[in-house]
Amino acid sequence: MSTITNAGAPTRADGTISLTELREQQPRFQGFVGGHRACVGCGQALAARLVTEAAGPDVAVANATGCLEVFSTAWPDSAWRVPWLHSLFENAGAIASGMEAAYKARGVSAKVLAFAGDGGTFDIGFQSLSGMIERNHNVLYVCYDNEAYMNTGIQRSSSTPHAAATTTSPAGRERLGKRHMKKDILQIVAAHHMPYAATASVAYPSDLRKKVRRAMEIEGTTFLLVHSPCPLGWRHDGAKSVEVARLAVTTGLVPIIELERGSLTGSMPIREPRPVVDYLRAQGRFEHLFVDTPAAREELEHIQALANYNMERYQLRGSGHDARDTAGADTVRRGGVRWA
């Protein structure tokens, strides 16, 4: 049996403690534990872990159908340690509404979280999401955005970025991956005049946690879009999930912003912007762009222009030292001070 020495009380006479015991003594709330069937290096599993950790125990989760639901709850197993309900693909917003209404009616003090992927949010679940926001249920809706239908075999969604290859937007002689733009779900959601809608990334867990806490405090519907790499669908090494997510942010392709009542109130400045090719080259879904053809060259320029557009639109270019920017937001310190 694996043991560690002097790792915390209570310890056995021989000074060891089992990992099982240690697991129960972890300093952070564990709403989502291991033993789930996510792929190695899954960004969504990481994101869900971070969100539930930050949200704490007084929650109940409504989970749309998708990878997260499937890999976390193959009966009899469940990776959840918070009350959790899965119903269907497109109704996370609605069952979360019902749960919240029930708690309100019964006087139960628990925040409802709704979890869905980009398919369940941008596409099929958009209607119930919109309804929920319009009714302003006290729900934090978290979209784990991995930019395609991963659970069903990497089909394109309206979140799939331009030029990314998926099984239904493959690259070929005539086409360089997806022909359409990524839907700007955050602006669409924020247009409901909701109190808080923000983006976050698994590459910046401190920022993500802050946003979860912020959203939890707000009475009413809040929305968090968490960029969550999929090693399988994006075709990168699982070890690189955070690195790829970080590049998405530092290239400007995934702006990390906060909108309140539809207005921009916060953004993570990029201290040293990276060229988009650094991000694209790290992923197989864009490999067709790295050939020496006029179309591929144009596409790379196009994607860089999209990043530049984001930089301009949200004034993402940093202006020197800023503790909240891409270089400062998740700086480590000895002793894990950033979590204090």
């Binding site: 560690i4 002097n6 790792a7 564990q30 599993a45 971070l50 340690r81 070890a239 955070v242 310190r333």
Partner: protein, 560 residues
């Protein structure tokens, strides 16, 4: 038999029954690698360890950690060329951590606050070791012997401990009080007996020491002027550089020429130039074969770059890549030197050789020329050990081949830095302790340090290096110390710049970023010195933790 419940509900966290560790092809392991600073320090200081404590504001604990390797931080913090900082990985990121500044801060604080050296008095019947020479090597050796529970008698020819630090290094960069206090505190420790005015071969004899003591450590230094001439010619009033520095320290004045050339590229040469300036010389020129220190320079001067820069600020002219071709004498008195441009170039076999370039000869009018090209060992009292060599040859542990006798410091012809002497004293102490069948308790790391490429620098924020105040050149007079130290806030902030290379700094990245909650945080240190354990029952071997470990402490190895 497991039974399917109504509605297919699952119990919370039941997935922990499913052990995804079986998927794993590779596993993360903790590998503690030496930090480059630790590896590079001739005294074996683990700077990372005390920087961490300084960052927490635990200054005394930091000093106690530091002196487990080096008992003279107030001295070395000022005079060491700090190879630790040259090696510091942070230098490749923005600027190296000011390790020397923090070292000095801790040494000064210990003196100021009177922190007690962390050592227990040795038992009365403990073996006694003789240390000859109370310079950095001897003091270090004595200290480490004391830490190992031995008693030490320290013999010193001069009246005060400190060796060259007390006698030759100018006060503007190493104040005499600092030397006296730091060395004096050490010599006052219970278990160390300081015997001043005892010169080997005159007052004490080696064979007697060997008989009376459990072991003998020779740290007598090298303070004899090295013979110097140009084609056999020397001026009649030839002064040796080190001797002039000693004179300046002892009596506060030296002969002051109007124009002087100092030959050499080490700190003695630079010190002497600056002393000449302070003493009133109009024109002071440093003539050296070497080049200015800097990146890519194949033959840099050994002087500290910052000392050199300050010398130039003070008006010292530095003539690099210059050799003295000829002395111009009027009678026995030098009136000038002929110099020639030279450079180290590879010869046919690829070895670097100095080549003088014909046609570049030029004449410098000087009133005095002072060689500062190094000193030799004064072998009086241990001639039989030198066997005609210029220095004592020692093994890595300080043994010289004569039973019970060890040596360290300048007497061994070492690199000539105070810190190297401290390190040699420490290694010799360890060897002595072992020879007495005792537990040395002195760690030494020779493992390869963690490379910059192994770090994930995304998690560090650029931060300018802190600098202590520097006296403006116009105000640098006499022995006024030029460089001021850190205040506690600056020391703490600067310590926070340490990257913790190759070590676990408890940043929580692995713990935070594991998608499988397979990294568990320990309350105290885990067995391997980290703050985390891998739960291989669940770890799928994705490698995220290793990729995101800022310090290179986590490595992926093929699953056994």
């Amino acid at each position: 038999m497991k039974q399917y419940p109504r509605g297919g509900i699952a119990e919370p966290g039941a997935s922990l029954d499913y052990h995804t560790g079986s998927w794993r092809l590779q596993r993360p392991v903790h590998v503690h690698q030496a930090a480059p600073c630790h590896h590079a320090c001739p005294a074996g200081e683990d700077a990372q360890a005390y920087l961490a404590l300084v960052e927490q504001g635990r200054m005394q604990a930091a000093w106690e950690s530091l002196v487990t390797a080096n008992p003279l931080p107030a001295i070395t913090g000022r005079v060491c060329p700090h190879p630790c900082e040259s090696a510091c990985n942070r230098g490749q990121y923005d600027e190296a951590v000011s390790i020397h500044g923090i070292e000095r801060f801790l040494g000064d604080e210990a003196i100021r606050q009177g922190w007690a050296y962390p050592v227990a008095p040795p038992p009365a019947d403990a073996p006694v070791v003789a240390v000859v020479g109370a310079g950095p090597a001897g003091l270090s050796c004595a200290w480490h012997l004391l830490r190992a529970g031995l008693r030490v008698d320290v013999f010193e020819a001069e009246s005060e401990p400190g060796g060259i630090c007390a006698t030759a290094i100018p006060g503007y960069r190493l104040p005499p009080d600092t030397v006296a206090l730091e060395c004096g505190r050490l010599m006052a420790l219970d278990g160390i007996e300081f015997r001043p005015g005892q010169r080997l071969g005159r007052d004490i004899q080696l064979h007697e020491l060997r008989q009376q003591y459990a072991a003998v450590f020779l740290g007598v230094g090298a303070q004899q002027a090295r013979p110097w001439s140009i084609d056999g010619v020397t001026p009649g009033d030839l002064h040796d550089g080190l001797a002039l520095l000693q004179e300046w320290k002892r009596v506060g004045q030296i002969p002051v020429p109007e124009r002087v050339a100092v030959v050499g590229g080490g700190n003695t040469a630079v010190d002497l130039c600056r002393v000449f300036k302070r003493a009133g010389a109009k024109r002071v020129m440093l003539v050296t074969h070497s080049g200015m220190p800097g990146p890519g320079v194949p033959d840099p001067m050994r002087a500290l770059p910052r000392e050199l820069a300050q010398a130039q600020e003070e008006g010292v002219e530095v003539l690099t890549h210059r050799g003295v071709r000829r002395l111009v004498l009027r009678g026995e008195k030098a009136v000038g030197i002929e110099t020639v441009h030279m450079k180290k170039l590879p010869d046919a076999e690829g070895r670097l050789r100095r080549v003088a370039f014909e046609g570049t000869e030029s004449l410098l009018h000087v009133d005095m020329i002072v060689p500062a090209t190094g000193q030799d060992v004064d072998g009086r009292g241990f001639e039989e050990l030198l066997k005609g060599s210029a220095a004592l040859a020692i093994a890595a542990d300080g043994a010289i081949g004569t039973p019970g006798v060890y040596a360290g410091g300048d007497v061994t012809g070492n690199a000539g830095t105070v810190t190297a002497a401290v390190g040699q004293g420490r290694r010799a102490a360890a060897a002595i302790v072992r020879s007495l069948q005792r537990e040395a308790g002195i760690d030494w790391t020779d493992a390869a340090p963690v490379a910059f490429a192994a770090l994930n620098t995304e998690y560090y924020e650029p931060m300018r290096r802190h600098h202590g105040a520097v006296l403006p050149p116009a105000e640098r007079e006499g022995e006024l110390e030029v460089e001021q130290g850190f205040d506690p806030a600056a020391a703490q902030a600067e310590a926070g710049r340490c990257l913790s290379c190759g070590n676990c700094m408890a940043c929580d990245n692995c713990y935070t970023l594991c998608p499988d909650t397979a990294v568990l945080k320990t309350r105290d240190l885990a067995e391997d010195g980290s703050h985390y354990v891998f739960d291989y029952e669940y770890c799928k071997g994705c490698g995220l933790c290793a990729n995101e470990c800022p310090t290179g402490y986590i490595q992926m190895v093929v699953e056994p």
